[in-house]
C-alpha cells in the first residue's frame, strides 16, 4: 500500500486539473482502484484455486451436505454459540448481497461484454472455497468475551492460530475492518438507499421535500434525505442494539424475502424471454472463452476482448461476494456448533447464492434485453439494470421492473448496513474490549444519518482501500493455517455424518 501511495502520488498531482478533481481526490481514486486491482483479484482467485485443489473440489462434492446443514438437519441447539447455521448464513449474506448484485453486474457486462458474467460465476465458485477455509478457521479459533459474546474471525485466527508473533497482523485486520465498516458498510449504503428512494419516488412527493438546502453550513441535502437518514438510522439502530442474536433473527427473515423478491422479478423477465435464453447463454459462453465482441453503444462501436471479460468478471465477483476479505467469518463464528467444518460448509453457500445465482439472474436480464449493447454510460450500473428490468417487461408494466430494482436496492443497502455493524462491533471489541461496543454502535448509527445526506468522496475511497486491505491480512492467516483447514476437513469427513434433527 505504501508503494502504490508513493507511486501514484506524483502522477495524481500531474493529472489533476484546476477545474477537475483535486490532487487528493485523484490520488485516492487511484489508490482505491489499485487496491481492488489485478494483484488483489489474482491473489483471491489463487487462494480459492489452492483450496479447491487441496480439498478435491469440495464445493461440488459437498454441496448436498452444505444444503442439509442450511436446512437445519445438523443444528445443535445446546452447542456453544449464539445463532443457528441458517441465521449465521443469512447475517453474512445480508452483508454481501448488495449493490454489487445489481449495479456491479451491469458494470462488468458493459466493460467486459456478456462473457464477463460467466467469469463472475467461475470466480464465485472459487470464492466458495476461500469462504469455506476462512469460516472453518473462524470457528476453530473463536473465543468468548468477558460479557459472554462470541468473538471470532481473522483477528482471532491470526493471533491465536499463528501465534503471538503475528498478533500485529490481527490488529491491522481489526483496524481496517472498523474503518471499512463506516465506509462501504455504512455511509455508502445509506447514501445508495437515499439516492435510490429519491430517484424513484421523489418526483411524486411535494417539492418542499426535495428542495436542496445547506445543513451545518456546507452539507447540501434536502428534507427527504434527512427523513430517510433518520428512518434508516433508527431502523438499523433498533436491530444492532440486540447484537448478533437480533441481527441473525432479522437477517433470517429479511434475506430470504429480499432474495425471493429480487430473483422473482428477474425470473419473470427471464420467463417472458424464455425462447431466447439458450441463444443468450450460448453467446455469453462463447464471448467468455471464444473471442472478442463489439458493443454498439452510443458514441461508436467499442471492441471488447476476452481479457477484458475475465478482468471485469473477476473484479465484480470479488466485490460482490467478499470471499477472502475476512468479513463473513466474523458472523459465521457466532454459530451454534461444535464442528468448525460444518459452519465452513454452509458458509461456502454464500458466494454460490450471491454470485452464481443472484448475479447470474441480473446478467441474464441485462443480456436478454440487449441493454448492455445500447446503454451509454457503464459507470451507471444500477440505472442500466433498472432499464433492463423495465424493458424486459411488456409495455405498460415496465414500472414494475423499475420498482423491483429500486426496492431491491433499498433493502440490500439496509441489510448490508445491519451486518457490517456486527463486523465492526467484533473488531472494536478485539482492539479495545467489550466497553467500546456501545459507543461504536452510537457512532455507527450517526454515520448512517450522515451517509444519507452527504457524498463522502475521499472518505469513502479511503474506506475502500481499507476494505481491500482486510484481505491481505486475512490471506496470510488462510495460507499460514491451510494445513489446519485440510486436517479439520479430513477429520470431519472421516467420521460418519448423520443428521441430528
Amino acid at each position: 500500500m505504501i508503494a502504490f501511495f508513493s507511486a501514484a502520488m506524483p502522477l495524481a498531482v500531474q493529472s489533476a486539473s484546476p477545474e477537475g478533481p483535486s490532487a487528493l481526490e485523484t490520488f485516492f481514486d487511484n489508490a482505491a482502484d489499485i487496491a481492488w486491482g489485478l494483484p488483489f483479484i489474482l491473489m483471491l482467485a489463487g487462494v480459492g484455486f489452492y483450496f479447491t485443489v487441496r480439498l478435491g473440489f469440495a464445493q461440488f462434492r459437498r454441496m448436498g451436505h452444505a444444503i442439509a446443514i442450511g436446512r437445519g438437519k445438523y443444528d445443535e441447539p445446546d452447542a456453544p454459540g449464539e445463532v443457528t447455521h441458517f441465521q449465521a448464513l443469512c447475517a453474512a449474506l445480508s452483508a454481501t448481497v448488495g449493490v454489487g448484485n445489481i449495479g456491479g453486474v451491469a458494470t462488468a457486462i458493459w466493460w467486459g461484454g456478456p462473457g464477463a458474467a460467466i467469469w463472475m460465476a467461475l470466480f464465485g465458485v472459487l470464492g466458495m472455497m476461500t469462504k469455506f477455509a476462512s469460516c472453518t478457521l473462524a470457528l476453530k479459533y473463536r473465543v468468548t468475551d468477558s460479557e459472554g459474546h462470541i468473538i471470532g474471525g481473522p483477528m482471532e485466527f491470526l493471533s491465536r492460530g499463528l501465534g503471538k508473533r503475528f498478533a500485529w497482523l490481527a490488529t491491522m485486520f481489526a483496524v481496517c475492518a472498523v474503518i471499512a465498516s463506516f465506509g462501504g458498510g455504512n455511509m455508502v449504503q445509506a447514501n445508495q438507499m437515499a439516492g435510490a428512494f429519491t430517484h424513484e419516488f421523489g418526483s411524486s412527493l411535494p417539492t418542499s421535500l426535495t428542495e436542496p438546502f445547506k445543513l451545518f453550513g456546507s452539507m447540501e441535502t434536502n428534507s427527504l434525505r434527512i427523513i430517510l437518514g433518520m428512518v434508516v438510522a433508527v431502523l438499523v439502530g433498533l436491530v444492532i442494539i440486540g447484537g448478533i442474536k437480533r441481527i441473525g433473527r432479522v437477517a433470517g427473515v429479511l434475506v430470504p424475502v429480499m432474495a425471493v423478491f429480487y430473483v422473482g422479478g428477474a425470473l419473470t423477465v427471464i420467463f417472458l424471454h424464455i425462447g431466447e435464453v439458450p441463444e443468450t447463454l450460448g453467446t455469453m459462453f462463447s464471448m467468455a472463452f471464444g473471442g472478442d465482441v463489439t458493443r454498439k453503444a452510443a458514441g461508436g462501436a467499442v471492441g471488447l476482448t476476452v481479457l477484458q471479460a475475465l478482468t471485469w468478471g473477476a473484479k465484480r465477483a470479488v466485490f460482490s461476494n467478499e470471499a477472502g476479505l475476512g468479513s463473513a467469518p466474523i458472523a459465521h463464528a457466532a454459530a451454534k456448533t461444535h464442528e468448525p467444518v460444518r459452519e465452513g460448509l454452509i458458509a461456502m453457500l454464500g458466494p454460490f447464492i450471491d454470485t452464481v445465482v443472484i448475479c447470474m439472474m441480473t446478467a441474464l436480464v441485462i443480456c436478454l434485453t440487449g441493454v448492455w449493447e445500447t446503454f451509454a454510460d457503464g459507470s451507471q450500473g444500477a440505472v442500466m439494470t433498472k432499464l433492463a428490468f423495465e424493458q424486459g417487461l411488456p409495455e405498460g408494466y415496465g414500472w414494475i421492473g423499475r420498482y423491483t430494482v429500486a426496492i431491491g436496492l433499498i433493502l440490500f443497502a439496509i441489510s448490508t448496513a445491519i451486518s457490517w455493524s456486527y463486523y465492526g462491533d467484533r473488531c472494536i471489541t478485539y482492539i479495545f474490549g467489550p466497553k467500546a461496543v456501545m459507543p461504536y454502535r452510537v457512532v455507527y448509527v450517526l454515520f448512517l444519518f450522515l451517509g444519507a445526506n452527504i457524498d463522502g468522496g475521499i472518505v469513502w475511497k479511503f474506506a475502500d482501500v481499507t476494505n481491500a486491505a482486510m484481505a491481505f491480512w486475512n490471506i496470510i492467516g488462510l495460507l499460514g493455517l491451510s494445513t489446519v483447514v485440510i486436517a479439520l476437513y479430513k477429520d470431519y469427513f472421516s467420521r460418519p455424518q448423520k443428521p441430528l434433527q
Binding site: A3, A8, N30, I34, G37, L42, G163, R165, I476
Partner: protein
C-alpha cells in the same frame, strides 16, 4: 523449506524473463518508474530465496522482511503501470477523437459546407492543442493510434506479469507464517497445529 526457496527462484527468473520478452517494442509510450520497481522487487525475491533454506530464526526474520519489501516493490511497479495505462488509454481516446474530427472536416470540405468547415476546423485545432500541450511528439495518424493501442495491450500484459509475481511473493510470505514453518526455523513458542 527448500520448496519455498525453489519457488522464489523460479518465480523471479520466469517473471524476469517474461518482462524482458514483453518489454515494449512498439511502445514508445511506456515509461515511468515501473521497471525500476520491478527489478528491485525481483532482486529482493531472489535474495530472500537464498536465505529461506537456512533453519535459523535470523534467516526467517531476514527472508520474511525481504519478501515484504519485494511484495511492496512489485505492488509499486503495478501501481506505476496502472497509472501509466490510464494515461495511455486517455491519449488513445484523444487521438481517436482528433482523427474522427479530421474525417468530419474532410467530409465537410468535400460537400462544400462552408459554415461547418469553420466550426469543425476550430474544434479540431482545440482538440489537437489539448493533446500536444501534454504530449508534444504526438503525430495524428492511424499508425500512431495503432502504436498507442499496441502500448495499451503491452501494458495489460505487463500488469498481469507483475501482479502474478506479487501474488507469488505474497503467498510464499504467507506460507512462511505456518506453525510448521515456525518450528523449522527454531521458534519454540510456535502454536501447536
Amino acid at each position: 523449506m527448500t520448496k519455498f526457496s525453489i519457488l522464489a527462484f523460479l518465480g523471479a527468473l520466469v517473471g524476469g524473463l517474461l518482462i524482458w520478452k514483453v518489454l515494449p517494442s512498439a511502445a514508445i509510450w511506456i515509461d515511468g518508474p515501473w521497471l525500476i520497481w520491478a527489478i528491485v522487487g525481483l532482486v529482493l525475491l531472489l535474495t530472500a530465496g537464498l536465505l529461506i533454506p537456512r533453519p535459523t530464526t535470523d534467516s526467517w526474520k531476514r527472508s520474511w522482511g525481504l519478501l515484504w519489501l519485494a511484495a511492496i516493490c512489485l505492488m509499486g511497479s503495478y501501481s506505476s503501470l496502472y497509472v501509466l495505462h490510464n494515461r495511455v488509454n486517455a491519449l488513445g481516446a484523444q487521438v481517436r477523437e482528433v482523427l474522427k474530427t479530421e474525417a468530419a472536416l474532410a467530409k465537410a470540405k468535400a460537400e462544400e459546407r462552408v459554415a461547418d468547415i469553420e466550426s469543425i476546423a476550430q474544434d479540431l485545432t482545440a482538440k489537437k492543442l489539448e493533446v500536444t500541450s501534454t504530449y508534444e511528439a504526438v503525430v495524428f495518424d492511424e499508425r500512431e493510434l495503432n502504436r498507442i493501442e499496441a502500448s495499451s495491450l503491452e501494458l495489460t500484459y505487463l500488469e498481469y506479469i507483475v501482479s502474478v509475481l506479487f501474488v507469488f511473493t505474497f503467498f510464499i510470505l504467507a506460507w512462511m507464517t505456518a506453525p510448521t514453518a515456525q518450528k523449522f526455523y527454531g521458534f519454540n513458542e510456535a502454536p501447536a497445529t
